[in-house]
């Protein structure tokens, strides 16, 4: 490589590094600031912001991040929304049915939520909004991807196989003391 090319390569790397290291001055939680995320390094953070935004606005709850002290949970209720387009994958919301029932009750402003359709419907919608908020936060995905309608799985005896060799991110929270997790699996 001649010196001119070496100098150019060094200049470009410095420029890219500076961009990657530049802190964002934008407030957390705005779709516009999230659209600045252009690398996968930020996917987990944007997923976490999407989860918090949806729960704060639609469920009326500020979430606490799950810790090692958070109670263990058996996921017997899951909602899944597919993403297709420039990024292909799944957003999943995994929790206990009791936690899902409480989420539905909080969304509807009523404790009179049974064990039926409203719980599944609410869980699917929460997952749908998380997926939508997430893709709106990543540059190029808002118009570059479409979402499926949600699928809800009730029961604990299932295994989900998807996206071999894809990337996987997971964030965990507690809702009124009940733990849940949100996952993102994708290929691009």
């Amino acid at each position: 490589m001649d010196q001119k090319l070496k100098d150019e390569a060094a200049r470009v790397r410095i420029h890219l590094s500076a961009r990657a290291a530049a802190p964002s001055a934008r407030p957390v939680g705005k779709a516009s600031d999230a659209a600045q995320t252009k690398t996968r390094d930020g996917y987990r953070d944007e997923l976490a912001k999407a989860v918090c935004e949806v729960f704060e606005i639609m469920v009326g709850t500020s979430l606490a991040a799950a810790t090692e002290e958070s109670p263990a949970f058996v996921s017997d209720c899951a909602a899944i929304v597919g993403i297709a387009g420039s990024l292909c994958g799944l957003v999943g919301l995994h929790t206990s049915f009791e936690c899902a029932r409480r989420m539905a009750a909080k969304m509807l402003g009523s404790d009179e939520v049974g064990a039926g359709a409203d719980v599944q419907d609410a869980l699917g919608e929460v997952c749908n909004m998380i997926a939508g908020s997430f893709k709106g936060r990543i540059a190029g995905l808002a118009d570059g991807c479409a979402l499926s309608v949600p699928t809800v799985i009730i029961g604990r005896d299932f295994a989900l196989f998807s996206l071999a060799h894809g990337e996987h991110y997971e964030v965990g929270y507690t809702f009124e003391g009940n733990p849940f997790s949100v996952t993102l699996d994708f290929h691009s």
Binding site: I57, D143, L147
Partner: protein, 126 residues
């Protein structure tokens, strides 16, 4: 403003309830709230009722919200009814397409009652 007859179109019954509650929280005087779970049902309701406002999701089975808007605008009696899209699909292309088909406004889920109020009240005042 006269009491409004509103049609809420969403395949999620929970979301229909939340949108209806948001309208009431916005202080709107509601005559009646009608509900449909897809565009096909919504078209039938729009043909049979005089509506003051429609709020519609986009991603729905059978007929999505964009096709619903397109077909609704071909019904003479419904050509002037304000339609607000409420959806997770907030990409610029979706917004432009919805507005070009005849939607009057666009709200991204998740939404606050204040956002609905800001958009709905001017539309109902005409």
């Amino acid at each position: 403003m006269k009491p409004a007859r509103v049609l809420i179109v969403d395949d999620s019954s929970v979301m229909r309830k939340i949108v209806g509650r948001s309208l009431r929280q916005a202080g709107l005087e509601i005559l009646d709230i009608l509900e449909a779970s897809n565009g096909t049902e919504a078209l039938s309701i729009a043909r049979e009722n005089s509506l003051d406002l429609i709020l519609s999701d986009i991603n729905m089975p059978l007929m999505d919200g964009l096709e619903f808007v397109r077909q609704l605008r071909s019904i003479e009696a419904a050509q002037q009814v304000p339609i607000i899209m409420i959806t997770t699909e907030a990409g610029e292309a979706h917004v432009v397409q919805a507005l070009s088909l005849g939607a009057s406004g666009y709200i991204r889920k998740p939404f606050t009652p204040e956002q609905i109020k800001e958009l709905v009240i001017p539309l109902l005042r005409g």
